[in-house]
Amino acid sequence: MSSCREGFAAVLIAAALTAGAAQAQTFPGIGRPATAKELSAWDIDVRPDFKGLPKGSGSVSRGQDVWESKCASCHGIFGESNEVFSPVVGGTGKADIETGRVARLRDESFPQRTTMMKLSSLSSLWDYINRAMPWNQPKSLTTDEVYAVTAFILNLAGVVPDDFTLSDRNVAEVQKRLPNRNGMTTDHAMWPGDGFGRRAPDVRSTACVRDCGPVPKVASSLPDHARNAHGNLAEQNRGVGAQRGADTTRPAPTTLAEAAARATTVASAAPASRTEPAALALAKQHACTACHGIENRLVGPSFVEVARRHAGRADLVDYLAGRIKAGGAGVWGPVPMPPQSLGDADARAIAQWLAAGARP
């Protein structure tokens, strides 16, 4: 009997342990405490109440210097460029600073939304620049440079004067002047928590089944001239199955027989996969392609343009390798190319590829 009682007690203890485990499961040997230094290295976020904002300051004029050397190549001298990204500045006015609502956002004909038209919390702009800018060298700015660039953008948008210095001590005051500070709402049913209140979805439909309205009429379709804008769709569908892709290099067929004849003669037209030149892979690896397309102009000239312009130079490879490393301005326009921090061998490989015509 005694052994039976012991057994019972053991079951009870086991049950108690199980219950304990359900409350706080432990995983001995897994994970470790974060050190203070590690926390400060990674915990860089800044909240709308400016929690997390490090101490520091930066003037508009200092910001202009940083901007012109590190930001203008993508965003334009005045933050107005639409070449690489949507414009940073524009579309806001003095009245918006008073109301905190950007009037242009109600104007359906206004073509584009700029950063400053949307910005409702200053912390978001500061944090954006601090964590992700410059685009190809994120986290390379000092804290004071981030303040300075933020001040410069605010100055371009007329939020702060030319002689202004932005700092952790006056951000809350500047926040009160943001043109779109009152422009956000959480009045919707698309937040999967309770924090903003519970609402029914805004768009209501019904699952009508018979004779539902209205009588259908085609209101929008792609114009004929855009037929091939996404490339030949025959090459974007499987060559076997219930259907084929339409041959968009030719006008649409008019009869079923014509379409079927065409579709079955267009075999798998996808080009055999080619190996990309090693130098192009290097150019991508070193983010050259962020500013240069192969045949299209982005921030800088296309690779093919570069190859064409300097063709015939005796010292072509040396010249190009040197320019890649040192950067420069004036050959292709006012926007400077910053010096690139890649190795000599890689710079030379890219230069040789350029010299040979930059073939993809």
Binding site: R32, R106, W135, T185, S205, V209, Q236, A252, A263
Partner: protein, 478 residues
């Protein structure tokens, strides 16, 4: 069924095949024949192996003779079988793969699709973005079956390019917005995370901007571009709740979380604690049975079921628990939905119920009239898809489609419907209803509330026009 036993007569070595046994009627079909050592004595096993060795020599001799004969046949002039009316040369003329020797094993240690599948590719939409590092590639939905997106065809969205991160150097940190909210901030290695109890779940991921180009009018030709910022995979990982408990998070006060990536953009997004408490949010390393692909956040990403893709932070390095939302760059300057009154909706996260027909769909050509399996995908960020209706007359009349299993919460659901095309123009649409009763709206209904400048969260009913020539076009109805 009685298992084979020693009481059965010992057989000769050549007899140990299921086929023989079934043919001779000694073993009923479907019965497992045990390996010889289970019912042979030691002498019998020796004899079996001995005969097998001799048998192998015989096999090699026979194979050599066959190969020689084959070579002789190949050298002789080939005479194509004469195909008469109704005879298919594909049947009459035996192809090389029927008459020759195929490829050896492990020609490619990780395999790849058939070369005939070369048209099935992720693609960029020309002109959509000026750079290819802050860009998107669309999954070829028109070529996929079932609900799973092959990992190599999963759509891509990068804000500052993708990386192939060394998993041995990758860390995940859990901390709090103040010292009290997370008692014990922690660091985990990938080894740590992969030792913890894991779960595997199928979920869709959709970019908030999917179909965004079509808010105002038709802009792109195929469902790859209209709906291809959508994928669905089985994800494997650790429920985030486990890690928060380990770190001692105060979930009474900490009702928000910040997820942060380790790449250049260091993507940050606010999450509600409710989803984490329900065990839905995963810290995932597995995707369709393999590790995540680098383009999808290798070695670690957040899985936030039902929520737009931008919150599924890739290269996940940090989770912070906080007492208020974070207003990150992608919650203030991007991923905000402009409404007609000029206000931006902030923290719009749930992907509402939506569907699209993938066959027939834009840019395709039907090869003739007659039967088609009209097929497509439906999903909802609020749970399971309850039903899908299909119209071929532009929304006047609807028929209920078959939902194929599995039908899972916050996961793609495949639907099918028999359709006989009579050769007349048809306006093909699908309309999904989810388990909350929400009905996917038309463009007219959606625009009446949200205008056409939202960019994000376009879940309108898609219309494909099947023209008389069999070509299918993307259209919108008035």
């Amino acid at each position: 069924m009685t298992p084979p036993s020693r009481s059965e007569p010992i057989r000769r070595a050549g007899d140990f095949s299921l086929g023989d046994a079934v043919e001779r009627g000694t073993v009923p079909s479907g019965r497992l024949v045990k390996a010889p050592e289970h019912f042979l004595d030691p002498a019998g096993i020796r004899r079996a192996f001995d005969e097998a060795r001799h048998g192998r020599r015989d096999f090699i001799r026979r194979a050599f003779a066959a190969a020689t004969a084959g070579a002789a046949a190949a050298a002789a002039p080939t005479v194509a079988a004469a195909a008469g009316d109704g005879d298919d040369p594909a049947i009459l003329n035996l192809p090389e793969h029927t008459t020759g020797l195929g490829q050896p094993v492990v020609t490619d240690g990780y395999g790849r699709p058939s070369k005939h599948e070369a048209n099935v590719q992720r693609r960029q939409s020309p002109g959509l973005t000026q750079t290819s590092q802050a860009s998107v590639s669309f999954a070829p939905l028109q070529s996929l079956f079932g609900i799973v997106t092959p990992s190599g065809l999963h759509f891509e969205r990068h804000h500052q390019g993708w990386w192939d991160v060394d998993p041995t150097g990758h860390r995940l940190m859990i901390n709090g917005s103040d010292e009290k909210i997370v008692r014990k901030p922690m660091v985990f290695t990938m080894d740590d995370l992969m030792r913890l109890p894991s779960v595997s779940r199928f979920h869709f991921i959709e970019c908030g901007a999917n179909s965004g180009m079509e808010w105002g009018n038709v802009a792109v030709p195929t469902c790859q571009y209209t709906h291809g910022m959508l994928s669905c995979c089985e994800f494997t990982g650790v429920p985030l709740k486990i890690l928060l408990d380990m770190a001692g998070a105060d979930v009474r006060r900490g009702r928000y979380l910040l997820a942060e990536g380790a790449d250049g953009s260091s993507m940050t997004r606010t999450l509600p604690m409710e989803l984490v408490e329900r065990g839905e949010v995963l810290v995932a390393y597995g995707q369709n049975g393999e590790m995540l692909r680098p383009e999808n956040g290798y070695p670690l990403r957040l899985v936030v079921p039902g929520v737009q893709g931008v919150s599924w932070v890739k290269y996940l390095r940090r989770i912070e628990v906080g007492d208020q939302p974070y207003g990150t760059k992608d919650e203030v300057l991007h991923y905000v939905d402009l409404m007609p009154d000029g206000l931006h909706r902030q923290y719009t996260s749930i992907q509402e119920c939506k569907s699209v027909i993938t066959t027939p769909s834009g840019g395709q050509v039907l090869l003739g009239t007659g039967f088609y399996n009209l097929t497509g995908l439906a999903w909802s960020g609020r749970g399971k898809v309850r039903r899908v209706d299909v119209s071929v007359d532009g929304g006047r009349n609807w028929r209920q489609a078959r939902l194929e299993t599995p039908v899972l919460s916050k996961c793609l659901t495949r639907f099918n419907l028999d359709w006989v095309w009579d050769g007349k123009p048809a306006l093909v649409q699908s309309r999904a209803v989810d388990e909350t009763g929400y009905v996917q709206p038309t463009y007219r209904q959606l625009r009446a509330v949200r205008g056409s400048r939202s960019i994000y969260h376009n879940n309108a009913v898609q219309t494909w026009l099947v023209t008389e020539s069999g070509e299918v076009r993307n259209v919108q109805l008035s």
